[in-house]
Amino acid sequence: MRQDTKKLIREGIVAGSPLILGYFPIAMAFGLLAKNTGLTITDTSATSLLVYAGASQFMFLDLVRAGVSAGSIILATFLLNLRHMMMSASLSVNLKKDTSGFLPIIGFGITDETFSVLSFNRDKLSLPFILTVNLIAYGSWLGGTAVGYLVGEVIPKALQDSLGLGLYAMFAALLFPSFKADKEYLKPAFLGAVTYYAIFKTGLLSSGWDIIAGIVIASALGVFVMGKEDKDE
């Protein structure tokens, strides 16, 4: 293995390891809840293995409990996960050349969490770096699901709840330091918060559309407020 590939993998491990904290506990919660919903371990593992999208997997369990039809479950999943289209588009402009034959694999690994880590390492988006980060996330998600299904009950409720909040702690830990590099980015973050709050309070948009509309409106407002000039690149 070439020296710089090793270095890129090492950087990927450093950047991606917080994802274990963000993912493993929540995947455990999913595994446990799936078991309590009556899913077999095969179906539960298949969900994490194939769908690999946290929020929609929890929604799936809710809808199964409610006896909702297969078509509606799939449509709801589509809407809730459509936000990844924006994230995929955002990442696409910074990918290094060595990724070109691997887009089907890279695309599969785009989640809120991996997107957060990757997009705040925009200068490092080579194939080894991306695959390392994605593999850490995917592994944590699958491992957590299985452990949660098999032995999830043993973890005290308060600990489960606080580990579940680790996801938001991680989002904040990624977002806040970026303001230090450039205070300008407080503007889109603020616009996102205000836009989403307004959408949430009016309650006009269903889950899924609310996130997509929020991202599109706030980012467009951001271009309007900050101008087209891109100071970084």
């Binding site: 199964v64 809120d112 830990a173």
Partner: protein, 102 residues
């Protein structure tokens, strides 16, 4: 017990395609500066939206713990720059709030 595998495969397809297609399509296009700028702002708007959504949709009794965890993790990351330490501290503070206040 019937298997949910057909539903799961359907969910997998509608989740995968929106993740993949922009990667395949956008790399070949030359984007206008305003579109580039828009895409560059998506990480900031979407993370901020996911955080706000997480707080707004959490159960009322979890809200103080969520806010405390987010505040501590964000502030520590801002000051120290260590992601793992920040996330662990956030989880720890959330646990303390749930255990002693919640």
């Amino acid at each position: 017990m019937n298997s949910y595998l057909p539903v799961i495969i359907g969910m997998a397809l509608v989740t995968y395609l929106p993740r993949l297609l922009p990667l395949m399509l956008l790399q070949r296009l030359k984007l206008r500066p305003s579109v580039m700028r828009f895409l560059q702002l998506v990480p900031y708007t979407s993370l901020s939206i996911l955080i706000v959504r997480g707080v707004l949709t959490s159960q009322p009794e979890m809200m103080p713990a969520a806010l405390a965890g987010i505040g501590v993790a964000g502030t520590l990351a801002y000051l120290k720059g260590n992601l793992v330490l920040s996330v662990l501290s956030g989880i720890g503070v959330s646990f303390l709030v749930i255990t002693f206040i919640g």
